[in-house]
């Protein structure tokens, strides 16, 4: 059976780059087709019927036509534009970070419905929750689970014994935690406090409603962020670019 010439899908716009006079090249994340690029013609003209429905981080329902190289978007209708994100610099920057993580961790045309759903939900939660950083940690842990990088947080990676209630050590290379004894043979580790370990386990095993009840102190929040950042950087083998702007914003708030 030949693939149909036109098809429908919903999508989250992960990235957009201007192309030519008035076109855009969009990176879309979709429930059944994973990530792919598509062209939206004429959308930078002010009177374009589609433009506003294809902005960065909008959730839209699309009609596409198969092209020789790239598919072309022929119709678009916003499902949600996550409006509260757009009026808040911190929240929109966190949302950009979440989208960049999905973009960097995924290959083209690989379906991952749980990850799609997670990103979609996270954009919604970022519009309404108070503790947006907790949501980000929850997002990161679930993203890693959906991608097969779920860190081992219950047993020591070295000796398989249950982790003692003390400061243990996170090993990005091993994808989990080492007890103080096994850590001796593993130079690239980061201490993980008992509280941080407990929160990570709790977030990993909970759904959003349960996870969102956690209250983090500023220090614990920093520790978790740092642990996740190291692990993610190790997996990607590069920096997540939008992190720099997050650090910048935070530095200026404090200053």
């Amino acid at each position: 059976m030949r693939a149909p010439k036109v098809y429908k899908t919903e999508a989250i716009v992960l990235k957009c780059i201007n192309l030519g006079e008035a076109d855009k090249l969009l990176t879309l994340y979709t429930p059944k087709r994973g990530k792919f690029s598509a062209i939206a013609k004429g959308v930078r003209r002010p009177r374009s019927k589609m433009g506003g429905h294809l902005e960065l981080l909008t959730h839209s329902s699309l009609m596409l036509a198969r092209g020789k190289n790239l598919d072309i978007i022929t119709q678009s209708q916003t499902i949600s534009s996550f409006l509260p994100l757009r009026g808040d610099l911190w929240r929109s920057s966190l949302a950009i970070y979440a989208a960049e993580l999905v973009d960097q961790f995924t290959a083209e045309h690989v379906e991952n419905y749980p990850l799609y759903k997670l990103l979609l939900n996270t954009l919604g939660w970022l519009c309404e929750t108070q503790d947006v950083e907790l949501i980000l940690r929850y997002f990161e842990l679930k993203l890693l689970t959906h991608l097969g990088y779920k860190p081992e947080l219950h047993r020591c990676l070295g000796c398989s014994s249950s982790l003692e209630p003390t400061t243990n050590f996170f090993s990005p290379g091993g994808g989990g935690v080492l007890c103080p004894r096994c850590r001796e043979n593993e130079p690239l580790t980061q201490p993980i406090s008992l509280n941080a370990l407990k929160v990570m386990r709790f977030l990993q095993d909970s759904d959003y409603t349960r996870a969102s009840r956690v209250r983090l102190s500023a220090a614990l929040s920093r520790e978790l962020e740092s642990l996740m950042r190291h692990y993610i950087r190790y997996l990607l083998e590069r920096e997540v670019k939008s992190v720099e702007f997050l650090d910048r914003l935070r530095g200026e708030v404090i200053a």
Binding site: G52, E55, R86, G87, S93, I96, K241, F245, L246
Partner: protein, 203 residues
């Protein structure tokens, strides 16, 4: 189609390649432009080449507003009758043209040369933000008009500038966002409609 395989004389393929580097020019258009130039009279081709060189040799950034110019300060910054208490902040030099064409705005400009784009690693230090802040030190400026594009990155840049400038006690305004002239309500997106409602005016 790969332009490397087009069997043509070396100067021809070289020009095709050069055109291909320009934004929005694909291999087909690059070929078309090249063959057009081949048929062009000698003096016209020379004038074009000279115009390109002149742009590179003579065009600089205005030391005040960062717009592209051939004299420093630029003609707008030097202009008689410009309102020096207002600065309109735009993303790119090209954004000034439509605003000037309206003849409605008499203030000055400031060109950022981009927007904050965290995913591409473009942050505040990559834009002409320091230059803008130093212009606001003199006490002459009373209003900063933010005219970045109404998309996520343009808005983020505007919000970022707002954070930096508000403590200076200078009035800040944002170009009204809403329905474009001639637009169809049926096709308007949620963000545009809400902004249009928020910015509604008495008639």
């Amino acid at each position: 189609m790969n332009i490397d395989f087009v069997p043509t004389a070396q100067p021809v393929s070289r020009l095709i390649e050069e055109f291909h580097k320009l934004p929005g020019i694909g291999p087909k258009t690059a070929q078309r432009l090249t063959y057009f130039l081949i048929r062009m009279p000698q003096e016209e081709a020379r004038a074009l080449a000279e115009a390109i060189l002149a742009v590179k040799d003579k065009i600089i950034l205005c030391s005040i507003c960062q717009n592209i110019t051939d004299s420093d300060p630029c003609i707008i910054c030097c202009g008689e009758g410009r309102d020096r208490t207002k600065i309109c902040v735009v993303e790119e030099p090209l954004d000034i043209l439509p605003l000037e064409r309206t003849r409605e705005y008499k203030g000055l400009y400031h060109v950022l040369h981009g927007v904050i784009s965290p995913m591409d690693g473009i942050g505040p230090d990559d834009l002409k933000i320091k230059e803008l802040l130093s212009r606001l030190q003199g006490g002459e400026v009373e209003e900063v008009i933010l005219a970045t594009n109404p998309n996520l990155e343009g808005e983020a840049t505007a919000m970022y500038l707002q954070r930096l400038i508000t403590p200076l006690g200078i009035k800040m305004t944002r170009l009204a966002r809403g329905l474009p002239f001639g637009a169809d309500l049926e096709y308007a997106d949620e963000v545009t409609l809400i902004r249009a409602l928020q910015g509604r005016q008495e008639v």
